[in-house]
């Protein structure tokens, strides 16, 4: 062993779960990757102290490690590998490809398994877009690869590199590690560019400028799109106790939202949920491209029984991948399920480091870490002048369903859209169980213009439906005391139509082939149908109609089943039903007058 390498090897002095202390680590930098023990388990330096002592958090089970074993420094920060081949892949928290690991070492995860994140053998059909002599800088797209049939992968110059192209390959088949392009920088140094690159996962990728958020991220879920919309580049939280449908909602968003790329992070959750996505997504069709949903999806799975330190990095791995596709000019949506498990990983590691706890044992830096994660969401002008966005949707699992706990509270400071899941709705199997009394979206104002272009009355309809629901909440309180039959007819009408809004509009059946996804056109139509029905029946009651007159309207059952019986693109059926309902209400009015 020469002098150089010897200096880069430390010795373990203590093992305490995923936290390992080592000595002789003078050369090790903060946040540097190290390989721990004879098995060379992946770890990261998280604290450096006097006399060459370093604390390392290890991303694999440390069972069997003992003091005295070596710790190898690598000199590089924890990074993700970027390049074509990411889409359709399932990774663990530190970007090891789980499919290849399963092929190599079987159903159980072995320790110290090293496998390349991206397939280095595979050849990609690369097409250059520039020529020798062109000036490039970080982010410039110099070629492209058809990564999947629905996604074109733009091959970019790494951030930080700029200069003149001195050589560029012809169109053809290349592997990820072959040099495609050589750039001569202003200082005369030459940089060789390959399809595969690295990026340190704790550092946000640079952009030219952040933009205002004005485009809605369409989700196909009516309660979200109509009542609590999220903008492309926005950040949203879904808090809810167990069994209220966080994962179901996240999965529905991953399936139907109109993002170009989905990064789904299963962080400290169930293994079977990831299996479900793996089984289901390849069979589902993207409503816009007609291609399999898996072609636009990347999965990060660090299930609850996998090492806790890797759970902590999994969300950074996910968001870095998202930023990479954003830089190509795509709209990316990141689903993090669940950020509470991530926060608990922080708490566990912090406890092992014997740090002073703040709220409920969580470390004092919890809010800062949450902020730095959610701030990586945004709609941006990329370094190459394109528009791209990263939207972040984080599930929160508050203990006992109590929203006053630290993770929910701190999260709500850094997001602008809050979809509170309601236990009572979930118990009644009203899904999505997003409460219309406790949820909010600050993006509503920003995306309203977009909706008004679809239907100029959109805002009015939305407000009417929302007011009806809020009025119902107030009336229910009285009805609980005196019984609903004691209320005057116009108030009982509110109770009745609020029920229709809940059942016919808000409740959405994710197992129904028609209802699982609702197009914007169908949504605006449904809102118009309900708004018209409400306005007209209120007028009828004033003119002396009774509630039973209104509930006896022949087309009412069809109105109430419109979500599943009228297809998204069936304009004719929509017009016909609208006509029927309208004329029946008018006929009733005629009868009253006559």
């Amino acid at each position: 062993m020469d002098n150089e390498t010897r200096q880069n090897v430390g010795r373990i002095t203590r093992v305490n779960g995923p936290i390992v202390e080592a000595c002789d680590m003078e050369r090790a930098g903060m946040l540097e990757v190290v390989e721990v023990g004879e098995l060379r388990l992946i770890g990261e330096v998280i604290r450096v102290r006097g006399k060459g002592l370093a604390t390392v958090q290890v991303y694999e089970n440390t069972s069997g490690l003992h003091p005295g074993e070596p710790v190898y420094c690598t000199g590089r920060p924890l990074s993700v590998r970027l390049g074509p081949g990411l889409l359709g892949t399932i990774y663990d928290g530190i970007q090891r490809p789980l499919e290849r690991l399963a092929e190599a070492s079987g159903a159980m995860l072995k320790r110290g398994d090293k496998s390349e994140s991206l397939d280095v053998e595979r050849r990609w059909s690369f097409k250059p877009l520039l020529k020798v002599g062109d000036e490039v800088c970080g982010g410039t797209v110099y070629g492209e690869v058809q990564e999947t049939l629905s996604v074109l992968h733009r091959v970019m110059v790494e951030p930080g590199v700029s200069g003149r192209i001195v050589s560029l390959v012809e169109a053809g088949e290349y592997t990820g590690e072959e040099t495609l392009c050589v750039v001569e920088q202003a200082d005369g140094r030459r940089r060789e560019l390959t399809m595969f690159t690295h990026w340190p996962l704790r550092r946000p990728r640079p952009v030219r400028e952040r933009q205002a958020l004005t485009r809605p991220l369409l989700t196909g879920l009516r309660v979200v799109d109509a009542f609590f919309p999220i903008a492309k580049g926005g950040a949203s939280a879904i808090p809810g106790g167990f069994g209220t449908g966080k994962t179901m909602t996240q999965q529905a968003l991953a399936k139907w939202s109109d993002a170009d790329i989905i990064v789904y992070i299963g962080c400290g959750e169930r293994g079977n949920e990831m299996t479900e996505v793996l089984r289901e997504f390849p069979e589902l069709q993207d409503p816009r491209t007609g291609r399999s949903l898996m072609e636009r999806t990347i999965l990060i799975a660090n299930t609850s029984n996998m090492p806790v330190a890797a759970r902590e990095v999994s969300i950074y791995t996910g968001i870095t991948l998202a930023e990479y596709y954003r830089d190509m000019g795509y709209d990316v949506a990141v689903m993090a399920d669940s950020t509470s498990r991530w926060a608990e990983a922080l708490r566990e590691l912090s406890g092992r480091l014997e740090e002073m706890p703040a709220d409920e044992g969580f470390p004092a830096y919890l809010p800062a870490r949450l902020a730095s994660f959610y701030e990586r969401a945004g709609s941006v002008e990329t370094l190459n002048g394109r528009t791209g966005s990263v939207s972040v949707i984080g599930a929160v699992s508050p203990p006992g369903g109590d929203f006053s706990e630290p993770v929910t509270q701190h999260t709500s400071r850094f997001i602008r859209c809050f979809w509170a899941l309601d236990r009572d709705l979930a118990n009644a199997r009203h899904y999505p169980a997003i409460s219309w009394t406790n949820s909010y979206s600050e993006y509503l104002v920003e995306v309203a213009d977009w909706w008004r272009q679809k239907d100029s009355d959109w805002q009015r309809h939305r407000d009417l439906l929302m007011e009806t629901l809020q009025e119902e909440v107030a009336l229910q309180r009285i009805a609980k005391l005196i019984g609903p039959d004691a209320l005057p007819d116009h108030q009982r009408l509110v109770l009745m139509v609020a029920d229709y809004i809940k059942n016919a509009f808000l409740q959405q059946n994710s197992f129904d082939d028609v209802d699982m996804y609702c197009s914007p056109e169908k949504q605006t139509w449904m809102m118009r149908m309900l708004a018209t029905f409400i306005t007209k029946s209120q007028a009828l009651i004033k003119k002396g109609a009774t509630l039973s007159d209104i509930s006896a309207i022949g087309s009412l059952p069809r109105l109430l089943r419109m979500k599943s019986e009228v297809r998204n693109d069936d304009g004719a059926a929509m017009a016909a039903l609208e006509q029927t309902v309208s004329s029946e209400l008018d006929a009733l009015e005629g009868k009253l007058r006559g």
Binding site: T13, R14, V15, N16, G17, E21, N61, T62, S63, G64, L65, H66, P67, G68, L98, L101, A102, G106, A107, M108, L109, G241, F242, G268, R270, G271, N272, M274, T275, L278, R279, A301, T303, S304, N305, V308, E344, R347, E348, G351, E360, G361, S397, P399, G400, G401, D424, N427, A428, R429, K480, L481, G483, P484, D485, A486, N503, F511, P557, R561
Partner: protein, 468 residues
């Protein structure tokens, strides 16, 4: 250099279940330790924290009669392993897998680390084979599938044991006649509870198919931390090496969590909620996640942990964190139990997350998902109307609301309530479901399709006296 097998004399500190041993060399994290008391008794322990000179060891047999001098310890160079073999079915073991039935240790060369290794999520097979338990409130409303982890949330004095025994007795797949092997783990429960299960297995003639791991109320509490892991280690062998379908019943998880809290406190760890350690979630997950199926393998592990909720509080950390990991929960309700309903399965808070893919067309019956959804919706309405009726009186309710009350009664007495030895087929259960729905007017049944209503609702009632 290999230091395994070296014996050290004396310990520095003894603190609750922990001992601190100084002057050690080459001791590994998680390593197994054999500790000999001054009186010559041998106990097992495990390394929880190790530095170059000191090891912190948790002692499974308890630390009583250990002393600073005279205590000897030997580090064994391996982590805790138990023997595994098919011949362990029909036997009784302690929490560490040592025979407790007076028979010799099982003849096998196969040993497995009790902590297991996490399953690669890619290698899992999504569970979707319907298990018929013969209990309507489960089969119809909270369906169990093969490879699921579905706990029973109960309270002291509620009939969770009888129910678990009934499930173990009746569980079967629809089109297949395969027997379940049962692995039973008991932590901190009383002897008579263990006796009840043994008798129940014996009477139904499955005892030869059951392996039991018992760490009862009078055994050292630290042993409870290993008991469920030993049971799951054997279950994994049976399922994934022998290709069997294994049902694992674990009772009572609350006692397990208390043992964990005891260790955490003794180590001076920073507590999170109610004194339980911050890693309770990860720790529970390391056991619950050992259920499921694997791609290309025929075996499966279905887990049914039982836990008693302290003062029936579902938001207590133990049921709360469990509910976040398991695929649903069967909640028992004291109110129903006191009204004489068995099994007292609470209608609304109970849930099976894997139900959606295990039922319906080609699995149970086409209308099953919609019937279940309609029953949930209607029963949730019943709860609202009942609380309204408490205020305004039943007389003041509207005609439809009165029908809902009638529906609620029928639902509880016909669907939920059944005999401890009554084994209902899924067809039978579904037709009871429809009978009960018929109490409600057709227009209320928005979650059922027109076609389903025609086929089932408009048919004559099969059991006449529902309304009476």
């Amino acid at each position: 250099m290999n230091y395994a097998g070296l014996e050290y004399s004396g310990v520095r500190n003894i603190d609750g279940p922990l001992v601190f041993i100084d002057g050690i060399r080459g001791v590994a994290y998680d390593e197994l330790v054999e500790i000999t008391t001054p009186g010559g008794e041998v106990r097992l322990g495990q390394v929880l924290d190790v530095t170059a000179s000191t090891a912190v060891v948790q002692v499974f047999g308890g630390t009583d009669s250990l002393a600073q001098s005279g205590t000897r310890s030997r580090f064994l160079g391996t982590s805790l392993e138990i023997p595994v073999s098919k011949s362990m079915l029909g036997r009784v073991f302690d929490g560490l897998g040592r025979p407790k039935d007076g028979l010799p240790a099982p003849l096998t060369s196969q040993r497995r680390d009790v902590n297991g290794t996490p399953v690669n999520p890619y290698a899992r097979e999504y569970p979707r084979d319907f298990i018929q338990t013969g209990i309507s409130s489960i089969d119809l409303m909270n369906t169990l599938v093969r490879g699921q982890k579905l706990p029973i949330f109960s309270g002291n004095g509620l009939p969770h044991n009888r129910m678990a025994a009934q499930i173990a007795r009746q569980a079967k797949l629809l089109n297949e006649d395969v027997e379940f092997a049962i692995v039973f783990a008991a932590m901190g429960v009383k002897h008579d509870v263990a006796r009840f299960f043994i008798d129940s297995f014996e009477r139904s003639g499955v005892l030869h198919n059951v392996a039991m791991f018992l760490s009862l109320a009078d055994d050292p509490s630290v042993e409870r931390l290993i008991t469920p892991r030993s049971a799951l280690t054997l279950a994994e062998h049976l399922a994934f090496d022998e290709g069997m379908h294994v049902l694992v019943i674990i009772t009572d998880m609350s006692n397990y969590c208390e043992a964990l809290r005891e260790i955490a406190t003794a180590r001076g760890e920073i507590p999170s909620r109610k004194g339980y350690p911050g890693y309770l979630y990860s720790d529970l997950a390391s056991m619950y996640e050992r259920a499921g199926r694997l791609r290309g393998q025929s075996g499966s592990i279905t887990q049914m942990p039982i836990l008693t909720m302290p003062s029936d509080d579902i938001s207590h950390p133990i049921p709360d964190l469990t509910g976040y990991i398991t695929e649903g929960q069967i909640v028992l309700e004291r109110d129903m139990f006191q009204r004489g309903i068995y099994p007292p399965v609470a209608g609304l808070p109970s849930l099976s997350r894997l139900m959606k893919d295990g039922i319906g067309k080609g699995r149970t019956r086409d209308d099953h998902p919609h019937v279940a959804s309609q029953l949930f919706a209607a029963y949730s309405r019943v709860k609202d109307i009942r609380s309204l009726a408490n205020v305004v009186g039943e007389e003041e309710l509207s005609a439809v609301d009165k029908l809902y009350l009638k529906f609620g009664e029928a639902f509880e007495s016909r669907v939920v309530s059944q005999g401890e030895y009554e084994n209902r087929s899924i067809e039978e259960t579904l037709s009871i479901g429809w009978d009960v729905l018929r109490v409600l007017p057709r227009a209320e049944l928005l979650r059922l399709s027109e076609e389903e209503l025609k086929t089932y609702y408009d048919q004559p009632i099969s059991i006449k006296d529902v309304e009476a």
